[in-house]
């Protein structure tokens, strides 16, 4: 970010008061379509969700039957013996954390490998890498469900190298869904990070190479600062998706075996459709939303900090 447009405008166009007030409002006016399309549609349902979390209301009954229940739903979630809130929270963090860290590390490694000077068929590889992310999540769940059967493709190939993993047991259920997540979404990181690596101008890297910087040094001190905003934004988008996602876990295990994969998304689903408790499911949703808000906020703060770092470090 080099200087601002408003400054440039002021320099080139001395103007009347109306123009100045337009300039003042222009940035906000530009936001209107996007804000209407997103907040305009989502604000009302989100507020309703918040309101539902204070109600005692059975799924399937009309809204008129709902009763105000104060904080009872939250209280139940936190104190009740049968509440799975903390168990789910822990599993959600394990699930999301492990998946995203693995995806990021793998994605970065593959992007760097792809960005080397001579990679045979780079375009083909890059396009091909899109494919796992293209698949419908429902389809992904179903196909891996079959691949992980004792007679499935994965079990067969693992068997060839002498491994026998019973994916459907309590020990392996969580690793199984994490593996699927990694398979499906690492390419998302690969593509974004590769685009980021490409955008780093060759001159800078050349200059560093002439100065005698090692490859590792160049990567860590020159490429990384450039990549950081992309890493942050990509990870943030992924966090936003994965915290709320439940398709794959639902299709594969429905939270089982026992409660081994009961992430928050599954708890919300269960509370709404099986326990028929709209209030409790809304309260869980609010908790999940708060968690997501917290995590994304941390990411955004980090993004801004890294942007400032970048700006101050660039000459």
């Amino acid at each position: 970010m080099r200087g601002t447009a408003t400054n440039a405008l002021a320099a080139t166009r001395p103007s009347a008061g109306r123009r100045r007030s337009l300039r003042l409002w222009l940035p906000y006016l530009c936001l209107v379509p996007a804000v209407i399309a997103s907040c305009g549609v989502l604000l009302y349902p989100t507020l309703r969700m918040f309101q539902y979390s204070f109600l005692n209301w059975s799924f399937g009954k009309s809204y008129e039957t709902a009763e105000w229940d104060g904080l009872a739903n939250y209280q139940w979630l936190i104190t009740s013996q049968s509440s799975t809130l903390f168990h789910s929270l822990r599993l959600t963090l394990v699930y999301a954390g492990t998946s995203i860290v693995c995806e990021l590390v793998l994605g970065l490694a593959i992007a760097v490998l792809l960005n080397r000077r001579h990679v045979f068929g780079r375009q083909v590889v890059l396009t091909g890498f899109m494919i796992p992310t293209l698949l419908m999540p429902v389809m992904v769940g179903m196909m891996w469900r079959m691949y992980m059967y004792p007679n499935g493709m994965l079990s067969y190939f693992l068997g060839l190298v002498g491994l026998r993993i019973d994916w459907y047991t309590a020990t392996w259920a969580m690793p199984a869904v994490i593996l699927i997540e990694i398979w499906q979404f690492t390419p998302f990181f690969v593509i974004s990070l590769f685009a980021g690596l490409r955008a780093i101008s060759a001159e800078i890297l050349e200059a560093a190479a002439i100065d005698g910087a090692s490859g590792w040094y160049r990567f860590w001190h020159i490429s990384m600062p450039y990549l950081r905003p992309i890493i942050v934004v990509t990870s943030m988008i992924r966090v936003l998706w994965i915290l709320k996602s439940f398709d794959i876990v639902y299709t594969m295990f429905t939270g089982g075996p026992g409660s081994a994969t009961e992430i928050l998304g599954i708890s919300i689903y269960r509370a709404l459709f099986l326990s028929r408790n709209i209030g409790r499911s809304a309260a869980l949703s609010v908790i999940l939303a708060a968690l997501t808000l917290l995590v994304t906020f941390a990411f955004v703060r980090f993004a801004y900090r890294s942007r400032e770092v970048m700006e101050s470090s660039s000459p």
């Binding site: 490998l113 293209l134 429902v138 196909m143 590769f194 490409r198 928050l264 955004v300």
Partner: protein, 286 residues
Amino acid sequence: MNEQSHPAGARRKWRRGLDPLVGSLVVWIIFLLFLAPYLYLIVWSFKHPGDIQAYPPRFFSPLTLLNYRQVFEDVNISFYLRNSTIVATATTLLSVLLAIPAAYSFARFRFWGQDWLAYLLIAIMVAPLIALVYPFLVMANQLGLNDTHLGLIFFYLPWNVPFAVWMLRTFISDVPQELEESARVDGCTLLGAFGRITMPLLLPGFFTTGIFIFIGAWNEFVIAFFLTSTKARTLPTTIDFFLTYGSFQFAPMFAAGVVGTLPIAVCALLVRRYYLAGTTAGALKG
């Protein structure tokens, strides 16, 4: 990455010769590992239902078009393909269109509350979809949007516009502002400078953003499942047809999976020179 300028010893030279080979090999091995489940899906979608689950796998059993015939004739998947195409295309176009001004504003202007407004666009999406389905349905009924393409597009936009804003914002700030400023000095209006100078450089950005939005809209399940019944049902909801009570119909399901992915895979292939070009450095130099 320019290795020719390295001070080069003999060992280094030898390594340089081998490097691309090893690098390519590693990339391709990883790539094939990632692709294997999908390749398996494609090949197995051409197998006779009786061979699909055979153990050990029958790699060379005869292929058949039976599953595809079933998917197109019994399930009439072209109807759902059509719905998906309409909804995903419109969602993509509208999202990008609506996002451009906001992305430009975030990238080019400095104004009070900028960071918070950008964050607001993310923050509005934190509610889990399942919790919103009921209000969505009530809204759709009141607006007469239930089971229509327009309804799906309407409810897809809020998830995709913020994404597009965030993506395009990065791409716009990658385009050097000096280019635009010099155009303005030459007498262009703000809009003209953006349209003539920045827009063409943004094509990769549009395609990258667009393709991710398209994928998202094409694959969305929960909204499509609850907001449509017979007229606007999209492709992902058809997978249910094969979860027959009593047995999964893997054979036609695989065929449907391939039918559902190939169009986007082909699209991605066609526009790849745009979205993978993701750099303005070339424009600067050339």
